[in-house]
């Protein structure tokens, strides 16, 4: 779903399951994307990034997929753990710039 004001989209998963967090972007000139994790009371923490000339990139337990045709980005977290509970933001760098524009965010809740 979409978020308005205080109502962040929320994804609830069971511990051990895989999580998929989605993000739509609007600027076709964006050439670099980052996923950030933000825990309560903390600043955003870098997770993984991807250039627009790639469609997939893997890290430790995380994978980012990029579909430029439909301007869609996803973050997959394998074997989700309680410590993964946080708000996840996608951010884009719009065409050669050096600043990031953030999306609204998704709240991930991991149930034991």
């Amino acid at each position: 779903g979409e978020s308005v004001g205080l109502h962040l989209p929320t994804l609830s998963v069971q511990e051990g399951d895989n999580s998929i967090i989605n993000c739509a972007y609007s600027n076709s000139a964006s050439d670099y994307f980052i996923w950030y994790k933000q825990e309560s009371g903390k600043g955003p923490q870098f997770i993984i990034d991807i250039r627009s000339n790639m469609d997939k990139r893997q890290g430790q337990r995380v994978t980012v997929l990029l579909n430029k045709t439909v301007k869609h980005l996803s973050l997959q977290i394998a074997a989700t753990q309680p410590g993964d509970s946080a708000v996840y933001f996608c951010a884009e760098n719009r065409g050669g710039g050096n600043k990031l524009t953030f999306g609204t965010g998704t709240q991930l809740k991991v149930e034991l």
């Binding site: 109502h7 670099y32 980052i34």
Partner: protein, 118 residues
Amino acid sequence: EAGVAQSPRYKIIEKRQSVAFWCNPISGHATLYWYQQILGQGPKLLIQFQNNGVVDDSQLPKDRFSAERLKGVDSTLKIQPAKLEDSAVYLCASRANRGQIAPNSPLHFGNGTRLTVT
């Protein structure tokens, strides 16, 4: 390496009062950003510095907000006078490289200052 340091962590003021936030970026990082994050939203860029020069302040409400990075290291963000809608977390971020954001040169964020305007 030490992270981005911000102070204070929390600040409560009344509307029309003034407030200042301080940021010490990661040592050697040339680029510094101030973001505003309203509850339930993603961070929104306010201003970007390259060393001690302003690169982009197009989204900074200049009638009440000001920022400086005089020696190209620490930075302060000031609000004068504050309004109720300024209640937010103010995040500082820094980056090593001067050029385009790319892999191996992401933004590193501090934990922010939570401002409440009553």
